[in-house]
């Protein structure tokens, strides 16, 4: 497939949990300011793969990779890359909304606080801007000092997106961001993703085929640690090349 400008790239990537070979020589390039969806059955390695892009797997005992992950053409697994710098560039949103047990305001500015930014004006401006980007500002502008845990699940997830946006990343990784939400909240998150791709490169893992169809430009299908097929979403959803892909997206797997 033709990629105009590749933002993220994996080259001959292998990943292991101890003896378990979780990802098998993956080669993929993801386009800038587009949405790439990873689909595949549970345990196919798509989440593991997603987490290699901000090195969230580093904390897992026995995890190691071979090969390269490139962000803007630069290998992010070399010794001179600082993980905290990397994560400023590559934000992440998780499956279950995970707001910190603090106020809404503190949640959004947390990323800035840990960078040592104390200027109130900057913090407040960033807070408003991020919440607006995440389409949450109108709902919470009067209760920024209230606990984030009092928000609904969908609002919490948009708060988590705002929190990720506050540190101005260029890439946002989303690990099944709507799987714990009701359909209306899911639709809001999907519309948000559609808006965000104007400015951000988004990689989303999803179990929901319709979701992949609705939000993504490109889709990668993983099966048993292999990248089986990678194509434009419309191409994959109308005429997949591999029978395994066909069986999976039509719900005939296994």
């Amino acid at each position: 497939m033709n990629i105009k400008h590749s933002k993220l790239e994996a080259i001959n990537l292998d990943a292991y949990y101890g003896d378990f070979h979780a990802l098998k020589s993956i080669n993929i390039a993801m386009e800038e300011k587009a949405v790439t969806a990873f689909i595949g059955p549970s345990g196919c390695g798509k989440s593991t793969f997603l987490r290699t892009f901000n090195r969230m797997n580093d904390y897992i005992d026995g995890f190691r990779i071979e090969g390269q992950i490139l962000l803007d053409g630069r290998d992010i697994y070399t010794d001179d890359v600082r993980v905290d710098e990397l994560r400023k560039e590559v934000g992440m949103v998780f499956q279950k909304p995970n707001p910190f047990p603090k106020t809404i305001y503190e949640n959004v500015v947390y990323g800035l606080r840990i960078q040592g930014i104390k200027d109130k004006k900057i913090l407040q401006e960033t807070c408003e801007k991020s919440l607006q980007q995440a389409a949450l500002w109108n709902e919470v502008k009067d209760k920024l000092d209230k606990s984030a845990l009092a928000l609904s699940g969908g609002q919490q997830q948009r708060l988590c997106i705002a929190r990720a946006l506050a540190i101005q990343p260029s890439v946002i990784l989303m690990d099944e961001p709507a799987s714990a939400l009701d359909p209306i909240s899911t639709a809001k998150i999907e519309d948000l993703i559609y808006e965000l791709k104007k400015d951000y490169t988004i990689v989303i893992v999803t179990h929901n085929m319709q979701q992949a169809g609705r939000v993504s430009d490109h889709t990668a299908f993983f099966y048993m640690g292999e990248l089986v097929e990678y194509a434009k979403t419309k191409t994959m959803f109308t005429s997949p090349k591999d029978t395994r892909t066909q069986n999976y997206i039509t719900g005939r797997f296994g």
Binding site: A187, Q210, R214, T233, K234, T238
Partner: protein
């Protein structure tokens, strides 16, 4: 606007573009037939390729829309209607092309007397009005207008049904004009087809807008 609406709007716009193109074919066709304008006819024939590529494009867009958005309810009906209207438009385009080919064969304009007798220009104008109103009905999602269009088709059919007798009589008096008469008969036949296609399109518009109205009818019946 939600993503799905953005895509739906793109689809509608594409269809309306095609509509304009086919309209252009039809209106120029009228002129070409009237004046036996070969050059204009050639242009109409060439346009057919463009219409065909629109047809393919809209087909593909609908296919993608189904695959990516799994539409339901009004969204589903809209895309189904667009898919069918697309086919009808393409056929109308074909018809216009066919008429242009007849115009190409004419070495002079039709005998005004014959034109007068057959009412072909009235028929042509009526077909054009129906075609344009159908576009308005689609654009403004107006099922009422669509229903009126369906009624108008009767006028076309009337002229069509009379045409063979009229042309037969005329040819008896003017046996030297047989090719001309036959060409006109074919054109009338084609115009009748255009009327049918437009009726189909109008029916699609009613189908995709009126799921609700059908309900209301049932309620009324119950009340009675």
């Amino acid at each position: 606007m939600p993503h799905i609406d953005v895509e739906l709007e793109r689809l509608r716009e594409k269809l309306l573009e095609m509509w304009d193109l086919v309209e252009h074919q039809l209106t120029s066709g009228r002129e070409a037939v009237m004046n036996a304008d070969h050059e204009l006819s050639q242009r109409i024939i060439k346009l057919e390729r463009k219409v065909n590529s629109f047809d393919l494009k809209i087909d593909r867009m609908c296919e993608n829309f189904f695959a990516l958005f799994t539409p339901v309810a009004v969204d589903l009906r809209t895309v189904l209607a667009i898919l069918k209207i697309n086919t009808n438009l393409e056929r109308i385009g074909d018809t216009a092309e066919g008429m242009a080919r007849f115009a190409c064969k004419l070495d002079r304009p039709f005998d005004p007397e014959l034109v007068e007798l057959t009412n072909v220009m009235v028929m042509y104008d009526e077909a054009l009005v129906m075609f344009n109103e159908c576009r308005t009905a689609f654009k403004s999602e107006d099922p009422k207008l669509a229903k009126q269009i369906i009624k108008r088709d009767k006028a076309l059919n009337k002229i069509y049904r009379k045409s063979d007798v009229v042309i037969g009589k005329y040819l008896q008096n003017n046996p030297d004009r047989i090719p001309e008469g036959l060409a006109l008969l074919s054109i009338i036949k084609k115009l009748e087809r255009v009327g049918d296609q437009v009726t189909n399109m109008a029916e699609e518009i009613i189908f995709y807008r009126e799921a609700k109205v059908v309900k209301h009818r049932k309620k009324k019946k119950k009340k009675e």
